[in-house]
């Protein structure tokens, strides 16, 4: 039902910026090359046939064992055309950076901060990139697959309790 988005994307970006497109379980998705991220996002917002004005969600997926390790996933919605799309951008672990889309949709401010906090993906150009859900003294990025679930970093010292570092 949102096939028009994929067709327009394929037509507008013929030089490999769109690496892959597909449709699964009623969700249309497109994989975007990392350096074309802002271009594609601006096109999706401004094109009159697409009009994806509303950002729904931005998150990251840790595909441990695959290169590039992280996928930043962006869901977009159009309130006028009522269609949706999902965008992926592969981000490797060594150069964990992606351009920030806050200039296009201001609502992604906190979503990008959360992706940085929990996965460690940095966003170039974000006005205020700091931790949002974890406290500033926390070390590490907890939703990565190699962070153990029960490794606590307590702020208030307590000793002899199972699960605490002491």
């Amino acid at each position: 039902m949102a096939q028009i988005i994929l067709d327009r994307l394929a037509a507008e970006f013929p030089r490999g910026e769109i690496e892959q497109i597909g449709s699964q379980h009623g969700n249309e998705w497109a994989r975007v090359r990392r350096d074309a991220w802002l271009q594609v996002c601006t096109f999706l917002r401004d094109d009159p046939t697409l009009q994806m004005q509303m950002p729904i969600d931005l998150t990251a997926v840790d595909r441990l064992g695959r290169e590039p390790r992280f996928d930043v996933v962006l869901h977009l919605y159009s309130v006028t055309k009522k269609h949706r799309v999902r965008l992926y951008a592969g981000v490797p672990e060594e150069d964990c950076m992606l351009d920030s889309a806050v200039g296009i949709w201001p609502g992604l401010n906190w979503f990008e901060r959360e992706a940085y906090d929990l996965y460690g993906v940095r966003f170039r150009g974000h006005p205020d990139l700091r931790r949002i859900l974890m406290y500033p003294e926390f070390v590490g990025h907890p939703l990565r697959k190699d962070y153990p679930k029960e490794k606590r970093q307590p702020l208030v010292r307590r000793s002899g309790i199972p699960g605490s570092p002491e």
Binding site: G140, K149, L155, V156
Partner: protein, 205 residues
Amino acid sequence: MGLEIYNSTVQAAVNWARKFSLFQYPFVTACCGMEFMSSAAPKYDLARFGAEFPRFSPRQADLLVIVGTITERQAPALRRIYDQMCEPKWVIAFGVCASSGGFYQNYSTVPGADQIIPVDVYIPGCPPRPEQVLDALILLQERIQRGEGHSQVVLKAEAGHDVPIASIRPRNRIGQGGPMDAGGVAGPADSGRVSGGAGPRGAGT
């Protein structure tokens, strides 16, 4: 001899007054807050036990009700609020998250508020029914009448006095004692030596 009887009668009267005029500080964080509201609501009225009006300042409260999950980020605030309360003060851990961490065992949840501050009465349940809350309040009132409570003991321990371990452990617990009870391995005796304050204590990344 007369002085002892006089003191104990006065003490009993003072405890009677304290138990029926508890000023609660509801430290509400999570879902248990909904059941706390329900137990203060008209159907399961908390006011008829004297614990009516929540005092939203720790300086004016004597009962700290920890309602909901305590996360690592919240822990320094909780410790600070407990320290700001005046003696005598009591603590109720409302809900299983505040008692023992609940079913959350992860990098962000403190497994029980008694890791941070000493607790007098635990209320299990996720969330507990308002009747359990009333039962806990009555149990706490009985403890107050007997003159028990953690706060006096913790102060003594921190000042270096010799305090027997048995008296620190809470005697009245609704439900079973947990793994902390067996052998007193990591008992709340350590809670007397909890030091507040921020500072990362991560054992490496």
